[in-house]
Every structure is written in C-alpha cells, then in structure tokens.
C-alpha cells in the first residue's frame, strides 16, 4: 500500500504552508484537487484511493492543520456517490442520526455548506435508512467542540424526506469513519514519538542528554512499540477493508482491533511523551499538545475505546473459533 513519493511530498509541503498561511484553506486545497481526492473523475474528483487519502490525512495531522477533508471526501460525498445521488459541489459533512432524529458530536457541522444526513426508519416494514443532502438551515444545530477545538455539533432533524439507503452502505460508512480516526491517531502518535526523541536528544541534565538515561530510553521505546502496534493494526485493517470493500465480519473485526490498539497505544504514548518532556510539554507554546491532546480526542470519536474493546470481545465470543477470527482461512473446518 504505497503512495507516490512525489505526491506525498506535495501533500506534506501543502500542509506545512497551510499551517502558517491559513487564509482560503479550503479553496486552495480544492484547486490542488485534494478536497475530492478519492471522488470519481466523473464528479470532479481526483480518482485517488485510500492509500493516498490516508497519506493526506496524516500530512494534515503532522502539521497540526485541522480541516474536514475526511468528513467531506471519504464519508459525506462518498455516500452520495455510493447512492447515485446527484449533487452540486459544496463543503459537506455527514450526520448519522439515531432513532430519535438526533446525533451528538457531528464533526464540522457548523462549517459545512451542506450536510448529508442519514437516519434509521422502517421501509416496507423492515429496518432501513434514509438519506438526504440538506442545507444546515434545515436542521437544528447546536455548536460544540472536542477537546482540541474541532467543531463537534449536535444535530436534530425532524420531518426530513429522503431516499432509501442500503443498510450495508451505512455499515460501511461507520467502518470508514472509525478507521479514519485510527489513521489520524497513528499519525499523531508518530509525531509525539518524534518530538520526544528530539527533546531528549537535546535536553541536557546531570551533564548528559536525557537520551543517555536508560529510564528515559525505556519510556521512549514503549511509545515506539505501542505506536508501531497501532500502525500495524490500522494498516492491516485498511488493507482488509480495501480487499473486502468495507463489508463483512473480517472488516468489522479488523477495524475494531485497530481502534482498540490505537486507543490503548495513546494511553502509553501520551503519558510517556509528557513524562520525558517535563513541564515544558504541558504549556500551550510547546507543540506536543497538538499531538497528545489530539490522540485523546480522536480515540474517543466514532466509538470510545471501551466500545471498541467490547466489539472485539463480542466478535470473539460469537466466532466459531477465536483463531479463525484473527487469522481467517476460508474453507477451514472449525472445531
């Protein structure tokens, strides 16, 4: 799952620049073909795939640029394309309502020009979903934010009319949303590790760099190991999801595993990164919090760590055999 190095370098330099020059961020990204990166060319997209999208999200995280690229491209517009809905260009996000017509923590609602809304309802007597692509004024929106200041709003909708959506597509979009946050957590963990290495290599105490103390080396080795596990689980989930088109038990299990590993990696990485940085790492002027606080915010979105641990447990409990769930071998007899 590799990305053209020139494209990756372009993405990195774009976000390095956007970090300092934030004016007209969306239109600049749009002009570069990055806001509909994975959209089909027939609807004005760039026709790229998930590996490129993951690289784009990671580049934004590395430079601390907060922008709803994933919500727009990989969730809202993807769902419009998947349901063959005709739509006009606009900055979008996705709201997945509950049975009462409400959704909490909807990302970037207040900034969106249009909102793709999905809600559960009975269709021909069976459980189903409907979808509508609406203006924000058609919804009741209460502004909110997560701990790093990204808009996370409450949406309430009544009396919308929409087209039926296959429940399978709704399951897919939930898997996509969950894995997007895992990808972002992994990128933030990597930066926490880099900053920690830079700090302990340059900070001198007792006449030597902190890096020379074994106790410090152990703290950093554990950040590195946990982050590597989160990355292995997340990349494996993305590969499985691409291979199985985001559907099925193996995808759900792989996504749940990634979210559990990334969530628990954040516990170790945040604690140890702050420990090796000392008090300076707790200040607003130091950049560490851009990554540590972000990992804590993102690991709790689209399902808490507790939720994903329990999903893994439930899938383990209902699988015919646990090893067959972890290492699928189609056609193998179960005990």
């Amino acid at each position: 799952m590799s990305v053209d190095p020139d494209l990756a370098a372009m993405m990195d330099s774009v976000f390095a620049d956007l970090r300092v020059n934030t004016a007209q961020m969306w239109s600049r990204l749009d002009n570069l073909g990055l806001v509909r990166l994975t959209g089909p060319e027939s609807v004005g997209g760039s026709g790229a795939g998930w590996p490129e999208a993951a690289e784009l999200l990671s580049a934004a995280v590395r430079h601390g640029v907060r922008v709803p690229l994933a919500e727009h491209d990989l969730l809202a517009c993807w769902l419009l394309d998947a349901t063959a809905t005709v739509y006009t260009p606009a900055r979008r996000t996705l709201a997945l309502l509950d049975a009462d017509g409400r959704a909490d923590g909807v990302p970037w609602c207040a900034d969106a020009e249009r909102i793709v809304v999905v809600w559960p309802c009975a269709i021909d007597g069976a459980d189903g979903y409907r979808l509508a692509d609406v203006e924000p004024s058609e919804l009741s929106i209460t502004k909110g934010a997560n701990m790093i200041g990204e808009p996370r709003d409450t949406v309430v909708a009544t009396g919308l009319s929409g087209v039926p959506v296959d429940p399978g597509l709704v399951a897919k979009v939930r898997h996509r949303a969950a894995l997007i946050r895992a990808i972002q957590v992994c990128a933030a963990l990597d930066r926490s590790l880099e900053l920690s290495i830079e700090h302990v290599s340059s900070r001198v105490q007792f006449g030597r760099p902190l890096a020379k103390f074994q106790a410090i080396q152990n703290l950093i080795s554990d950040i590195a190991a946990e982050s590597a596990l989160a990355r292995a689980a997340t990349e494996a989930a993305l590969s499985r999801a691409i291979a199985d088109d985001w559907a099925g038990r193996d995808v759900e299990f792989a996504v749940a595993v990634a979210r559990s590993c990334a969530g628990h990696a954040a516990s170790v990485a945040v604690r140890n990164a702050h420990q090796v940085h000392g008090a300076i790492g707790t200040t607003i002027e130091h950049r560490l919090h851009e990554y540590t606080r972000a990992t804590l915010a993102w690991r709790s979105e689209y399902g808490s760590v507790r939720y994903w641990d329990q999903r893994v447990a439930d899938l383990a409990g209902t699988a015919p055999d646990l090893w067959g769930l972890i290492a699928p071998a189609p056609g193998a007899r179960t005990p």
């Binding site: 799952m1 590790l193 880099e194 290495i197 302990v200 290599s201 890096a211 020379k212 074994q214 410090i216 080396q217 152990n218 950093i220 080795s221 554990d222 590195a224 190991a225 946990e226 590597a228 596990l229 989160a230 990355r231 292995a232 689980a233 990349e235 494996a236 590969s239 499985r240 299990f253 792989a254 749940a256 595993v257 990634a258 559990s260 590993c261 628990h264 507790r306 994903w308 641990d309 329990q310 999903r311 893994v312 447990a313 439930d314 383990a316 409990g317 209902t318 055999d321 646990l322 090893w323 067959g324 972890i326 290492a327 699928p328 071998a329 189609p330 056609g331 193998a332 007899r333 005990p335």
Partner: protein, 364 residues
C-alpha cells in the same frame, strides 16, 4: 521518520489455504491443547507426524532433504501449531534457529549431516549460549575451547538448556581467545557439540512447579572434531547476533498462552477484547517481520518490538485468566502463570530489548 516495523499486507490466498490444511491436520491429532508448548510440549510422535506432512524444515532446500518453502509459509504453519496448543517442543529449536544458522554458516558436510535428519523430525537441538555468570551479558561467557589434535576441547558450564536431556546436540558458544577488554566481542566461536558424547554431563534444573525442561550442561574436555566447528573461529559473536531476528519475532513470542485466551472467549468481557485486539495486531506485526526476513532485510529492531509487546501480552493473558478465577480452567491457568516469568526473560530480556529499540531510534 523511518518506520520501525515494515508494513503489514493482506495475506495471500496460498497462505490462507496452507492455514486451512494445517487446521485440518490438527483435527486428526490426539494431543490436548496446552500453553507454552514450544518449551514444555515434547512429543516425538507428534513431531514425526508433522515431519511426514513436510512441516518441519520447510525452508530447507530440497537437495538437503527439506521442502524449499518460504519463510512466510513456515511462519503460517508455526502460528497455526501454537494457536492450537500443539506439542512442538522436540523439534522447535532445530527448526527455528539451527536450520537458518546451518544454511548460512554450516559447512557442506554439516548441512548433509544434520538438515535431512532435522526435516525428518529425527534430530533435536538445544541452545548452548547462557552460563551461570552470563545471562543477558552473553559476551561474558567463560566456557573455553582449546586446540587439541584434530579438533577442540570444550570446558565450562551452560545453563537453561531446554531439552538437553532429550536432544542430540547443541551449538555451544565458547572463548577461543582470552578476553580483550577493548574488544570483548572478539575471540568467541561456535561448536556443534554432541550432547551424548564423552565429557558432557547433563543435570536437570527443576522449574518451580516441579517440571523438568531446563538443564545444566557441564562440559569437561568435551571433544569437538574440526569438522564440527560452526562457522569461523573468532566470528561467534557475529554469528549468534545475526540470527536473533529469527528467534525474537516468531509466533512463539505472542501465542504461548493463546489456547487459554481462546478458552476465556466464552465470557466476552471488555478486557478480553483488549487482549484479543493486541494478539490480532501482533499477528499482523510478526507476519510483517516474517516478510522482511524472507526478503533478507535487517529485522533485529522490529523483532525486538514484536518480542517486547508479544511476551508482555502473553503474560498479561495468563494473569487475566487467573484474575477471572474460572475453576474449569484452573489447571491451564496454573501452568500459564508458572510459565509466565520466563516469557519476558528467554531470548533476550525485555529490558535488553528496549535497549535494542532505543538504539534503533538513535538514542544510544
């Protein structure tokens, strides 16, 4: 930054088919699933049945009686065996590390002598590295090899040699030059020692639960003929350290307690999910390292990452099962908690391995 562990990939269909084949075979075998079976499950009949299927010495070229298969194919087979709790101890060391070492450093005579027998499941090896005063600090070994007519005489004591009382040989690390404090890794050499030969005495080291896996091997002028010198005289340190990734990244660093975890899945509480997720993540990670080994990429740092995380997790599984206190699992849990301290010690302590990772990150 450079990544510590190579990327994981989707498992190809051929490997999945091989998993299905091994699972079908395991259903026909009469063993009771246990924990830590690569140390404690010595069953020569099972080993023979496995060899008959071509699943020992898989990476040995056909010309040496092996099967010419990839390192990833071997990885898949060993993962399946450990996940099922199969008794694989008899051939484990020979298959895991003596085969790659022989293929890399062995003479033609040594390859002809040992590889076909290993692949048939008829020749078992131990490890001759640790000594009473050399645990993590392997370069401090004191066993001496002195030149005699037509060979070498080894004198010293090796410890923690699992299966020495049942195995045929080990590869012993010994000093062939006095210690040079400026170059303490120099002057070490390796020898293939016949454990049933003269000058070799094997005494049991009984584990705290009364089991006998480990031994003390006392070498008193044990004779090793010239044709059993392993690799080059003086290159012992390079030889033992170059093969560590094979020893540290395998499924035995992740799955030692897997049968216990599987038994706990009937009550799917949240903590079970956390542990299952870690094992699944480690499965992807160690399989990525297997890919790196197949491509002959350096893998000592990613192998250390797998081993630190994997051995901690397999220990956490033992503790978790103990905390649950299910009487139906009492026997398996007792075995697991008794074996647990060894998980993070054998094959390089986790403290040493964190140092390896720190070096990989440029901190040392």
């Amino acid at each position: 930054m450079n990544r510590l562990v190579p990327p994981a990939a989707v498992e190809p269909d051929e490997l999945r088919a091989l998993r299905a084949e091994v699972r079908a075979f395991l259903h026909t075998q009469p063993f009771t699933p246990l924990v830590d079976t690569w140390l404690s499950g010595w069953d020569e009949e099972f080993t023979a049945a496995l060899a008959a299927r071509g699943w020992i010495g898989m990476t040995i070229p056909k010309g040496y009686g092996g099967h010419g298969r990839s390192f990833q194919e071997r990885f898949v087979v060993t993962e399946e065996l450990l996940a099922a709790g199969a008794p694989v101890a008899a051939h484990w060391i020979a298959d895991r590390q003596i085969v790659p070492s022989l293929l890399k450093y062995g003479t033609e005579h040594q390859k002809q002598e040992f590889l076909p027998k290993i692949a048939r499941g008829e020749c078992f090896f131990g490890i001759g590295m640790s000594e009473p005063d050399s645990g993590s600090d392997l370069a401090s070994v004191r066993t001496r090899a002195t030149r005699v007519d037509d060979g070498w005489a080894l004198t010293g004591t090796k410890v923690w040699t699992s299966g020495a009382h049942l195995a045929h040989a080990f590869i012993g690390l010994a000093r062939t030059e006095p210690v040079d404090p400026a170059h303490r890794h120099a002057g070490l050499s390796q020898f293939i020692v016949d454990l049933r030969g003269s000058g070799v005495e094997i005494r049991p080291i009984i584990s705290m639960n009364g089991a006998h896996h480990f031994n003390e091997v006392i070498l008193d002028q044990a004779f090793v003929p010239d044709d059993m010198v392993f690799g080059e005289i003086g290159a012992g340190w390079t030889q033992v350290t170059s093969e560590l990734a094979f020893e540290r990244s395998g499924p035995e660093r992740v799955l030692s307690t897997f049968p216990l975890l599987a038994s706990c899945a009937t009550d799917p509480e949240r903590e079970l999910g956390r542990l299952v997720a870690r094992i699944a993540g480690l499965h992807h990670m160690s399989s990525a390292v297997a890919g790196a080994l197949e491509r002959h990429e350096p893998a000592d740092v990613p192998a250390a990452v797998v081993k630190v995380l994997g051995t901690s997790t397999e220990g956490d599984i033992a503790d978790y099962a103990d905390l649950r206190g299910d009487p139906a699992l009492a026997e398996l849990v007792t075995r697991a908690v008794d074996q647990r301290p060894g998980f993070t010690l054998r094959g390089g302590t986790n403290e040493i391995l964190r140092g390896v990772i720190a070096r990989g990150l440029g901190l040392r």
